[in-house]
Structure formats: C-alpha cells, structure tokens
C-alpha cells in the first residue's frame, strides 16, 4: 500500500480559543502608554464603516484594536499594512480615539519586535 491510500483526509484542527492566561499584553501596554486613547474604544465600528481600505479588503480597525487588547499579534503586521492612513476614521470616531497615531504606534511596535 502506498502512503496516499492511508491518508483519510483528517487533520488536527487548530484551537480557536483565546487563552487569555497565556496571552502577552506587551504590545497593548506599549501602545497604551504611547497612545492612551486606545482605552476609549467601545468597538462601535464607526471607523470600519467609513474606512476606505475596508471597501477593498477585510481591514477593520475595530477588530485590530480588539486583537491588540487580547494579546493576539499573529498576522497583525499584514493587517496594519492595509491601512492607507487617510484618517477618515479619526474624523468619525465618537470617542475621540486618535486612530492614526494608534495605527502608527501598533505598526512601529510590531516592526520593532519583528512580528
């Protein structure tokens, strides 16, 4: 029998659960220190609704902020790079989050750690 016949098509699924006990909040804490207005986000989605990049990609600043808050850094660099820094979200945000500075901070810190 060759190997191909032995493959039943099953694989181990990756756990989707966020294990908050294992999460590192290093990025969040650094961003928070440099741009404290991240704390004010209420995940309303106004930023994503007005976002030019969101029209052509799956970029969502609301989600990005949440991922940073939960210590999820994997794939963030690629996410951040979708932003064109046009600043429309900053005009729309009802809580006065300094969104552009925030994205710059996230980007800068990710580049430093090479994630």
């Amino acid at each position: 029998m060759n190997e191909k016949k032995l493959a039943f098509g099953y694989t181990v699924s990756k756990d989707r659960q966020i294990d908050f006990d294992e999460a590192s909040l290093e990025l969040y804490n650094k961003v928070c220190a440099a741009e404290p207005s991240i704390r004010l986000c209420i995940s309303c989605g106004t930023c994503a609704a007005t976002c030019s990049a969101a029209k052509f990609s799956d970029f969502s600043l609301r989600k990005l902020i949440l991922q940073v808050r939960r210590g999820i850094t994997k794939g963030l660099q690629a996410e951040v790079s979708k932003c064109m820094l046009c600043g429309k979200c900053q005009l729309a945000c009802p809580r006065g989050v300094s969104t552009r500075a925030l994205i710059m901070q996230i980007n800068m810190n990710l580049q430093k750690t090479g994630k």
Binding site: Q17, D21, C32, L40, S43, Q67
Partner: protein, 343 residues
C-alpha cells in the same frame, strides 16, 4: 383629616412616602418585616454614578421628621383585604391592622445567584455577588481578607438573573450595568495593579452621568470590557476561577483565570407579592412585580381604589427613581383620601 394610611415596607420608598404623608397630616403606620428600617440601602457602600456615601443618603431619608408615624417591626404582611371602604392588613405572625388606604412599598429581592449554578456561586469560594462585594467594601481590607491574597485579576459578570429566560427572568434589572462599572472602579482603586474585566451582553448606561462613568472607567482606570455572556465558571487546583466566554466582537471563544468573580445579581419581585396580589385582588405583572393600572398615566395606582404602589415593588428602579416614585405615590394617596373625605 385623621385618616389612617398603612405603608407596607419601611425601605427608602416607604420612609420617603411616610414623611410626606405625615407632613400632610395623615396618621401613618409603617409595617416592616425586618427589625430595622432602610432596606437594601443599609448594605451598600457607595452609590452610582457619583459614588456618594450610601450611609449618608440612607441617613438623609431615615432622619426626615416622622411626627405621627408609628412603625411595626417584624411584621411580614401576607394579605391586604378590602372591607367596607377600609383595608384589613394581616401579617404572618397573626397581627391584624385596619387602614383607610394602603401604600405597598415592599421593594425587591436580590436574585438568588445559586440558581445560576453554572457560575458556581455557593460552590466555589471566590465567586461572590455584587451585594456581598458592597459589604466587603465597607470593611477595612474586606476584599483582600475574603480572597486571601492581593488579586491580580477580577471579573465582573453582568446580567446574573436578568435577561435570562432560562431562569424565568426576561427583564433587565436596570441598575447592575452601572453598578458593575462603579464596583470595577472601586476595585481598581483598591488594587491598582489588578486587571479588571467586565463581561457584558450590552452596556445599558441609561441614566444621567452613567456613560461618563463608563468612559472614566476606561480612560482613567483601564477597566476592560469583553462583550460576551459567561457560559460557565470552574475552579482550578489553587482555588482560582476559570471562566469561559465568547469574545463576541472578535467571534472567538476565550478562557481566562480570575482571582475573584463578582456576579451582578439583578432584582426580582419580593416573595410576598403573590399572596398580597391574590388577597387584595390586584394584579401581578408578567415579570412577577406589582402591576399599576396604567403604567404611563397612573404608575402608583392599582386596580383597587385605595391600594397604591411605590418603588421597586412595581419593577426595578434606581434610588433616585424610587424616591420620586414614593413622592408621587404620597400625592396619589392624599388625593384619594381627600376625595373620600368630601363624599
């Protein structure tokens, strides 16, 4: 004008109405099931949204003049029977009393968190209720002594016993969201290094200055909010509490370990509501609380002339709403009794 008014329950609604009816010249008797007046406010440390000292507010209500008011303690009223334009009030211990008008201010009871078994209250040491947390705040080092260590992470669970058809309560208790935000701030002040998480379905910051308190909790106290309803809590070997929740804004399940879990228990109708309703011939609403004849126009009036409602006996209310309701009920009682006197 010496008509007799019986007020059932000497919590803040009963006391407030008593002092007004007293100043109007009525004979007032407060009938209280406990040994003291004041009700739930006695157990509270600080009040939302301005963190006013609860004892100070309670004193402000209790110390109002009550010249012709007598108080009956340890009388748990079980029936109110209309009889020849009067009312016969009976208590569990056999005590009977006659009055020309009755104001029901029996208030609420806290939801029994043990019924929400999956959250582990009464099973795990470090799962407590919001009311218990208030009493801990009142004692020096109360919270630390209760946990047995300085906590590094505390979770507050919104909507325990509220908005939950599984346990039979479809309604929102109104006060728990803002109480959670207030208690989160108080905990952060006690433990600046501790991470505090509010686990919520919606944040119902409906009152004046509540939203500001919420913003302050985020901005100045770094309180974190996770939208998701807890599915279960479990205890680990060290006695810490592991919670499972979906972060519904990220669409992913989340697990985290806490030193203490605080359950924001909601309001439910007090136990004697059903027997009072059936004896008096007044209506109980679908949520178990007393039903007003017209919740828009006559919130203090029942279907039986001469029996009135005030405070949380007719649904969850804040302290300031309860006091306003009590004042308006006092006017309704006065207008009923003076119309009766003119007949």
């Amino acid at each position: 004008m010496n008509k007799q008014v019986a007020i059932i329950g000497a919590g803040i609604a009963g006391l407030e109405a008593a002092s007004i009816l007293d100043s109007m010249g009525f004979k007032v008797t407060l009938v209280e099931k406990a040994e003291h007046t004041g009700g739930h406010i006695q157990n509270w440390h600080q009040l939302f949204p301005d963190r006013r000292n609860a004892t100070e507010v309670a004193q402000g209500i209790i110390s109002k003049p009550l010249a012709n008011v007598s108080t009956e303690f340890n009388r748990e009223v079980t029936s109110i029977q209309p009889f020849a334009e009067k009312f016969i009030i009976s208590a569990k211990d056999g005590w009977v009393f006659n009055a020309d008008a009755v104001l029901i201010t029996t208030g609420f009871e806290l939801f029994d968190a043990k019924r929400k078994e999956e959250y582990g209250y009464g099973i795990y040491d470090h799962v407590i209720t919001s009311a218990e947390l208030e009493t801990l705040f009142k004692k020096e080092n109360g919270v630390t002594l209760r946990i047995g260590r300085t906590p590094s992470r505390i979770g507050l669970v919104h909507c325990v016993g509220s908005r939950d058809e599984k346990i039979g309560n479809i309604f929102c208790s109104k006060v728990c969201c803002v109480t959670a935000v207030k208690q989160a701030i108080e905990l952060k002040e006690l433990y600046p290094e501790c991470e505090i998480y509010c686990l919520y379905m919606d944040l119902r910051m409906s009152g004046r200055h509540y939203e500001e308190l919420y913003k302050q909790a985020q901005e100045e106290y770094s309180i974190q909010f996770i939208r998701g309803r807890l599915s279960e809590a479990a205890e680990d070997k060290s006695g810490k509490i592991i919670v499972k929740v979906e972060d519904t804004l990220l669409g992913r399940p989340l697990k985290m370990t806490m030193d203490m879990l605080v359950l924001m228990t909601g309001m439910v109708a007090s136990a004697q509501t059903a027997s009072i309703c059936s004896s008096a011939g007044i209506q109980k609403d679908s949520d178990g609380f007393f039903k007003a004849s017209d919740p828009h126009l006559y919130g203090n009036i029942t279907g039986i002339p001469g029996i009135f409602l005030a405070g949380t006996c007719s649904g969850p209310k804040t302290i300031s709403d309860t006091l306003s309701d009590a004042r308006s009920a006092a006017l309704a009682v006065q207008s009923y009794l003076s119309a009766e006197a003119n007949n």
